[in-house]
């Protein structure tokens, strides 16, 4: 493992120079390296362990667990798809060589995070992943420069809390090793220490997976990053955060650690705190996503909401909830990756991300449309796509635990997601095609093949989810969370819950029948007729006789019906308090503090300097005498 990771890191630097000669070759090498890593994951034996090196007299460990396999596999699916996608897409970019280098570097570092066997190794790879991804973000739109800074700062806020906690653990137990630390924490008598460490470690995951209150970087970073990279950011990088959250809540025996702190239905209050943050993220993410006119920012907020689902699922500390949360990692990764790649394809052709500037692209880019359609079905949690199963499992856990408020929030988020995913669908792909996109074509095969492949995987896992549930069940067994029923029952084609079971095959067949009937009706009834935007106005110069609101329409493009699509609903929370503003205030506070220091101590005249010198002298004497 160590050699592979290090050589991929070294290769990433070589890819830069190769890309300087020809970025296409660089992108192909990237894709090959990605494919190699994907195969490599299957050759590794679960439970194998390796020493990466020593640092500060401590061994840096790489341990391959079921969780490492699962998270790495999901990551590589997304990254590999984007790497193939980029082979063509990169020709629209300004910095292809640096993109290739940092993408590969980030890939190796992310795998390092999942392989890490101790807190320090995890931190090192984590920082490399953050740094290399942070350097790709500003290659996007103009606003992306600011986005990169916000991303770096928010991420570092979480990471440094994590680092602080790691050293707290080290100074107490003399160990960074995750397995050892888990044992030590289970036996530690000091509750304040455990709670502090738990929350500080979780902070890294909260910042990274876009959980409230550190979620604001997602909108600006995912919304402005280079289009295809948003797929990696949303599909893969935020999953690093989910991984850490899983480590601290499930891998560390929190139920045992926080015995006596149970708050509600056997969930300890620190876990409950995270759960509440997850639920808040669902609300915030959903409501904000509904408002967005920029399609990338819309899906960025949906990532906040889905990160919330994952956290809620894991934090329930219930077998089915945990499995649902982890399965949601896979579902959201795929759905977000497909959606962002579909957007990247649209932007590749139309050069805009504003929903209200587009429309009717279904006729021009049908494959992109189909990919997007399937992805949002999965994202909104509608059968038969795989996204349904994970949400269903999370609901099962919430219902069983009697957590009706959280369950209500989860349902609300799900219905909200119908609203927001429909908006780009209606605005970008359906409706009227603006004249300026008359000549838009479907993207080349190298770009749609990865999208369609991911759609196929997501679809198949919706019909037959047992292959992907297998590593999840193994993970659950590793963490000793025992279920009351056998959840994945492949021989009976069932995913079992508490209130009932889900048979994906039957549901799929019902859908197929329904689809067949609908198609039959579609062919029986008369074909729809395509008309021009200004239907009667067939030729130039003919009198215009379309009008609305007492006005003749000359520029139909302005009447995009997607503008303020959910105005009625949005008006209900128009004057909502903005968390971004609170964080801006915090930034301004530090900035003003800097100004104060600068103005009082650094800028003044020499006489003031003499004053400060004497003051210091006097204060020191006074203190020490």
């Amino acid at each position: 493992m160590a050699i592979t990771l290090i050589s991929i890191l070294a290769l990433s630097v070589a890819v830069y120079f190769i890309s300087k000669l020809s970025w296409k070759v660089g992108a192909v090498i990237n894709a090959l390296a990605g494919a190699y890593l994907m195969i490599y994951l299957f050759t590794l034996k679960v439970g194998s362990s390796e020493v990466l090196g020593t640092l500060f007299g401590e061994k840096l460990l790489l341990t391959y667990t079921n969780a490492s396999f699962y998270f790495s596999f999901v990551s590589m699916l997304v990254i590999l798809a984007v790497m193939v996608f980029a082979i063509k897409w990169l020709d629209s970019q300004k910095y292809p060589s640096a993109f290739n280098m940092f993408l590969l570097m980030m890939t190796a570092a992310s795998l390092g995070v999942f392989f890490a066997g101790d807190l320090l190794t995890l931190y090192i790879f984590w920082e490399i992943a953050v740094l290399s991804s942070m350097l790709i973000v500003p290659m996007g739109k103009k606003e992306a420069r600011r986005a990169a800074i916000i991303y770096a700062v928010m991420s570092a806020t979480g990471t440094y809390m994590y680092l602080y906690a790691s050293f707290m653990i080290y100074s107490r137990y003399g160990n960074f090793n995750l397995a050892e630390v888990a044992k030590d924490l289970a036996n530690d008598p000091s509750m304040p220490f455990k709670v502090t460490v738990y929350l500080l470690l979780a902070a890294a995951g909260i910042a990274k997976s876009g959980i409230f209150p550190l979620h604001t970087w997602l909108r600006i970073a995912h919304g402005n990053a280079p289009d295809a990279f948003s797929a990696v950011l949303s599909g893969q990088l935020v999953k690093l955060g989910s991984y850490v959250l899983m480590l601290v809540t499930a891998f560390f025996p929190t139920l045992k650690m926080f015995q006596g702190l149970e708050l509600y239905s056997k969930i300890p209050s620190p876990n409950y705190f995270l759960l509440a943050l997850g639920a808040t993220s669902i609300i915030v993410g959903t409501l904000m996503a509904i408002k967005q006119d920029d399609m990338k920012m819309l899906i960025a907020f949906s990532s906040v909401a889905n990160g919330g689902y994952i956290l809620v699922g894991i934090a329930t500390m219930d077998a089915i909830g945990f499995e649902g949360g982890i399965l949601h990692v896979f579902n959201h990764a795929l759905a977000a990756a497909i959606i962002f790649m579909a957007f990247a394809s649209v932007v590749y052709r139309t050069h805009t991300t504003k929903i209200s500037e587009m429309g009717g692209l279904i006729h021009k880019m049908p494959i992109t449309f189909i990919s997007y359609l399937f992805a949002i079905i999965s994202l909104a949690g509608i059968p038969p796509m795989s996204g349904f199963i994970s949400k269903w499992m999370i609901y099962q856990a919430l219902v069983r635990k009697g957590m009706f408020v959280t369950a209500f929030i989860a349902f609300f988020g799900s219905i909200g997601s119908f609203l927001y995913v429909f908006r780009p669908l209606a605005g970008v792909f359906l409706g009227q095609l603006p004249k300026k996109y008359k000549d838009v074509k479907e993207v080349p095969a190298i770009m749609w093949i990865p999208m369609v492949t991911l759609v196929a995987i997501s679809f198949i896992m919706g019909v037959w989810p047992f292959p992907i549930l297998k590593p999840i069940e193994a993970m659950r067994a590793d963490f000793a969370i025992s279920p009351s029923v056998k959840i994945a029952d492949a021989s009976n084609w069932l995913v079992r819950g508490v209130t009932g079971s889900w048979n994906p095959v039957i549901v799929f067949n019902l859908f197929i029948i329904g689809f067949a009937i609908a198609y039959l009706l579609y062919t029986l009834f008369p074909k729809p007729k395509k008309v021009d935007l200004l239907a009667p106005h067939k030729e130039e110069g003919a009198p215009i006789n379309i009008y609305t609101g007492g006005e003749y329409i000359y520029t139909p493009d302005l009447y995009q019906y997607n503008t303020k699509m959910y105005a009625g609903f949005e008006r209900m929370y128009e004057k909502h308090p903005s968390w971004e503003k609170v964080l801006d205030m915090l930034c301004k506070f530090f900035h003003d503090l800097g100004q104060l220091v600068h103005g009082w101590f650094f800028r003044p005249s020499p006489s003031a300097y003499a004053f400060w010198t004497v003051m210091t002298l006097l204060i020191v004497f006074w203190v020490r005498w």
């Binding site: 500060f56 931190y123 090192i124 920082e127 490399i128 740094l131 942070m134 500003p138 290659m139 103009k142 992306a144 420069r145 990169a148 800074i149 770096a152 700062v153 570092a156 806020t157 440094y160 680092l163 602080y164 050293f167 707290m168 080290y170 100074s171 530090f590 900035h591 503090l593 800097g594 100004q595 220091v597 600068h598 101590f601 650094f602 800028r603 003044p604 005249s605 020499p606 003031a608 300097y609 003499a610 400060w612 010198t613 003051m615 210091t616 002298l617 020191v620 004497f621 203190v623 020490r624 005498w625």
Partner: protein
């Protein structure tokens, strides 16, 4: 032999004063000779040289132990690196030579009054250097500060003399002061050295001086800072152990936060970096103020990393700031300089794969082991602020739309900057390159009896 480290640049300075046109050549020769000389001194460690045959504690003596040896090696290496840039040195070769002599003397001397003299020479030379590019007002402010500091330093020396009857450092180290006089002396020394060591609130001059031209930050934030930090350790730990170390700790933590906050506010690249070096100095002083191993070695390790990174940053920034008026996206035309700048700033923040990671994480780890939970928290907060402005500058210099047409860069800057940047990466993988000398320095600094032994037994010398 070790007297040559002071004599060579001093002679060269006289010659350069006579023949102005030889200035740069003389500087380069002196820098090379001094570097070779300090390398060759490794065989002479530990030893002393009694000037004029007056044995300590009566005469002035130079002390070469592990601490002063590695300090002058490091310092002379920096002077050598600066010698690559005739355009930065410009007409200041004579002053630079004087500075070189004074810094070497300051580090080597074993006599308190002698160290005062060298410090005054350093200040005088530094003020002249600070006035490059008509940066007179800032240089004047620096002069005032240095003047006050010098007089307090002198008063401290007088105090020591009245107590011990000698100006010899080893004698002072041997002498047991009463607690009150120890506090008085160390406080005065703290303020006197605090100006050069950039201790809050005595560091008001830094922004103007480092931010005013391209020569001052390159040499003052590196070699001179290093010598000041060396002397801080020597005086506060070796000679007057105890004293006001807790006060230093508190002031250093304030320095760290104040410097970083001011840097966050600052909009000018050189001034941002100047404030950043205040913040870093605060960190080094805070760690140094623990007064014992392994903190002392980590302080010097962090200092070496910081100085190397800052040398790169100031070289690149000083070069670009005076070449272009608008720096947006300028690295697109200066890729090598840009890469070096980015690596140096990442090292400063302490990202893994770069040198700063090694020192910062070790500091956090040792602080936790020592039961100090405050220093790591503040260090991480300061690092967060530092990361904010350094990433901001990196993003701006790399990715903003370029306003000015890039010109062909100077190969000297590119070569030196990238070589040092690669060196920072090498140090991440082989931290012992810096850590081993740093811990030897620290051993020498923390061992009081060792120092006294060297001076009393190592009589003679060249």
């Amino acid at each position: 032999m070790m007297t040559l480290a002071i004599a060579i640049p001093l002679i060269a300075a006289f010659l350069a004063a006579i023949r102005k046109s030889w200035g740069y050549i003389l500087y380069a020769i002196a820098a090379i000779l001094n570097f070779i000389l300090s390398l060759s001194l490794i065989g002479a460690v530990p030893s002393i040289h009694a000037l004029g045959g007056w044995k300590p504690p009566f005469g002035i003596n130079l002390v070469l132990d592990n601490a002063s040896f590695y300090a002058i090696l490091f310092i002379n290496a920096i002077f050598l690196i600066v010698a690559v840039f005739p355009d930065i040195i410009g007409k200041y070769a004579t002053v630079m030579l004087v500075l070189m002599a004074a810094v070497n003397g300051f580090v080597l001397t074993g006599d308190l009054f002698n160290s005062f003299v060298f410090m005054e020479i350093i200040s005088a030379a530094a003020v002249i250097i600070a006035s490059k590019r008509e940066n007179y007002y800032s240089a004047f402010k620096y002069l005032i500060f240095a003047g006050i500091a010098g007089s307090l330093y002198l008063i401290a020396v007088i105090f020591v003399y009245t107590q011990t009857g000698s100006l010899n450092m080893a004698q002072a180290a041997y002498f047991s002061f009463s607690q009150k006089s120890l506090v008085a002396i160390t406080t005065l020394f703290l303020i006197g050295l605090g100006v050069e060591a950039k201790l809050f609130p005595l560091n008001g001059w830094v922004m103007g001086v480092y931010g005013g031209n391209d020569l001052a930050p390159v040499i003052l934030s590196t070699a001179v800072t290093f010598s000041a930090m060396y002397m801080m350790g020597r005086l506060m730990i070796t000679i007057f152990g105890g004293g006001v170390l807790q006060v230093l700790y508190v002031l250093a933590l304030i320095t760290m936060l104040a410097g970083e906050l001011a840097a966050l506010y600052q909009k000018n690249l050189l001034k941002t970096l100047a404030y950043s070096s205040i913040g870093q100095a605060g960190l080094v002083l805070a760690v140094l103020s623990k007064g014992k191993e392994p903190f002392t070695s980590l302080a010097y390790f962090q200092l070496m990393n910081e100085v190397t990174a800052k040398l790169v940053l100031f070289l690149v920034a000083g070069y670009l700031v005076y070449k272009y008026t608008n720096l947006n996206g300028i690295f697109k035309s200066h890729k090598v300089l840009g890469t070096a700048f980015s690596i140096a700033s990442f090292s400063l923040v302490g990202f893994p794969l770069f040198a700063g990671f090694q020192s910062k994480l070790r500091i956090i780890m040792e602080a936790f082991k020592g039961g100090d939970y405050l220093l790591p928290a503040l260090l991480l907060l300061a690092t967060l602020i530092e990361l904010t402005y350094l990433i901001r500058w990196n993003v701006r210099l790399w990715f903003e739309d370029q306003v000015e047409e890039g010109e062909k860069g100077s190969w000297r800057h590119g070569f030196v900057a990238i070589a040092l940047a690669i060196f920072l990466v090498v140090i991440f993988f082989f931290p012992n390159i810096y850590l081993a000398p740093a811990s030897k320095m620290a051993d020498a600094i923390t061992s009081v009896s060792g120092y006294i032994n060297i001076v009393t037994s190592g009589l003679g010398g060249m």
